[in-house]
């Protein structure tokens, strides 16, 4: 079982995914929630690349991983801009306190 | 005022050109200085000639000192301390270079050069010109005690000896005086009686 194969990579990815979900669910700070999302995206990427390596699908998995990285960077930029705006309006970034739409 | 495109482009290119050109000009100047010989003086090896009448470390020519204490009194920071002992008549202390007869043993002549403010005020009152400023300016020390300069020609034992001598002499003189006084006092009550007796 110590011989590293596809299962090992997938397990690492699964644990990383769960940790990311845990972070998103428990954290109050919006920036920390973002970090959890980054963990989830990374775990998805590990899956894509692992399947592209161990399956016979060519290299589409790596291409998708590349796209995910690009999307993550765009998402981080937008999300941080929004967080910054929230901070300007509410003077804190705790997601459970920002629960009203107007005023 | 909104600039039109051509003018903006012209200014933009001019800025670019100016940026590169001025940097190159600056680089040429610094490159020239790369080969200019150094103008700094390598201090411990080469020293700047000091002007006349510089005021640096104090020096006392103790052979000429008559122990008059005038320098110590002139010092604004009290860095000079002088102790003297009077000589006894039998001793010959010699004369100073300008012919003054010395009358005091200088048992202590200490200058705390760390306190000295180099004002030169001690130099002027000296009647024998034995204290003066030299051009020595490198006298840093590791211990502060080393900056206390002792100029007295007599060491501690000799100084103590002189003191004892003087005290002995003084005591002798006192004794003589007392004896003389006693001698003078003894006949005293008789003196008025003598004529009366005589």
């Amino acid at each position: 079982m110590l011989q590293v194969g596809l299962t090992h990579f997938l397990t690492v990815s699964a644990i990383l995914f769960s940790l990311g979900v845990y972070g998103v669910v428990t954290r109050k700070n919006a920036v920390m929630v973002l970090m959890g999302i980054e963990l989830i995206l990374n775990s998805a990427n590990i899956n894509f690349i692992a399947f592209s390596r161990f399956g016979n699908f060519g290299y589409s998995g790596q291409i998708i991983a590349l796209f995910v990285i690009i999307l993550a960077s765009a998402e981080a930029a937008i999300a941080l801009a929004i967080v910054l705006n929230i901070y300007k309006t509410f003077a804190n970034v705790n997601v459970d306190e920002i629960d009203h739409l107007k005023d | 005022m909104q600039k039109d495109g051509i003018e903006f482009m012209r200014e933009y290119l001019k800025n670019t050109w100016d940026g590169i050109y001025t940097v190159l000009v600056g680089m040429r100047i610094t490159f020239k200085h790369l080969f200019t010989p150094a103008v700094t003086i390598q201090y411990p090896e080469v020293k700047v000639k000091l002007p006349d009448r510089v005021r640096n470390r104090l020096y006392v020519n103790i052979d000429d000192c008559i122990g008059c204490d005038q320098c110590a009194r002139a010092c604004p920071v009290s860095c000079i301390e002088i102790d003297t002992v009077k000589s006894i008549p039998g001793e010959d202390l010699g004369i100073t270079s300008n012919g003054k007869k010395k009358a005091l043993w200088v048992t202590r002549f200490d200058i705390d050069i760390a306190k000295c403010c180099y004002c030169q005020l001690c130099v002027f009152p000296c009647p024998t010109e034995c204290i003066y400023m030299t051009d020595v300016y490198e006298f840093s020390e590791y211990e502060r005690a080393n900056l206390l300069y002792k100029f007295s020609a007599l060491n501690q034992d000799e100084a103590a000896q002189k003191k004892v001598n003087y005290e002995k002499f003084q005591a002798e003189k006192e004794a003589q005086k007392a004896a003389a006084a006693a001698a003078a006092a003894k006949p005293k009550p008789e003196t008025p009686a003598q004529p009366s007796a005589n």
Partner: protein, 355 residues
Amino acid sequence: MYQFFFDLTGNVIISTLAVALVPLICVLLVTLFGVWLERKVSAWMQDRVGPNRIGPYGIFQCVADFVKMLQKEDAVSSEVDGVLYNIAPVLVFAGSFAAFAVIPFASTIIGSQVEVGLFYMLAASSFVVAGILMGGWSSNNKYSLLGSMRSAAQIISYEIPTALVVLSMVMLMGTLNLTQISEMQTGNFWHWNIFGGPGWALSKFLLIPFMVVGFIIIFISTLAEVNRTPFDIPEAESELVAGYFTEYCGMKYGMFMLAEYGNMFAVSLLVSVLFFGGYQSPVGYLGNVLGIKWLVSLEQFSWFFAKGWFFIFVQMWLRWTLPRLRVDQLMTLCWKYLIPYAVINLVIIGIISLL
């Protein structure tokens, strides 16, 4: 080189360490000699003499400095954030040292022949940014924090023109492998990329002006990436004491210094690989004439070092020529001048390479 050590020892770990040791020694020597040269060059440009006490021309001053730094007390403020404060210098040094893994010092002396070498060098520098932010934040000193924020903003801004110029060169050469890029510029100096690359086609002569533009852009932007004057606002002495390493002393400060000089050397080597033929000699090799194989490697090594030192010298030269830029001037230079020129350069080089 790994294969050579592997054949010699037959052990994976020993040969890996041996391969890693070569750039490490290079970085240490570069730092030692670089500190001395920095002081000497600044002295010469200001008509002074510079360090001259220890050894001929003060050459062993660097050793004295190093010994002093090693035995200094490691004074740590009680308010610093312990863990991050200690990790930061290591991270910065690791980032700058990692770049050396792919630099070909000669055709045979190279840490790793990875295909993504050029890209990897750009990526390794991002660890430096993270380390700088870490050090600045954990020092618990507002000057450190300001310096590190400025530094991060500056480095990630100037990565864009660097990457654009690298992109245009990659487009032209068709590879990211630094050894292959160097090998393509073999022969005499008119085969170097700054002179339009090998061959005598029309495109070679068309390329020359754009190569010069590309060289100027990448030189300026790498200068900014390693925080050298005139782009030294992150460690501006007159405003921020020493920027992000204000609170550091002893060997931790020494690690920052090592990283700084290592970075300077790395970007100099990057520029010389991209535009000045890397380890290639401008005139040919004595070893080829005499038929001695190892002499060629030695010559290549010396040529590469000479080129690297020349660019380090130019960096020092600029340091004593130009005053520090203001923050707005810095950003104007990057976003309004370097990036547009780099993009135009990229397009034109692309068109020429189609010819």
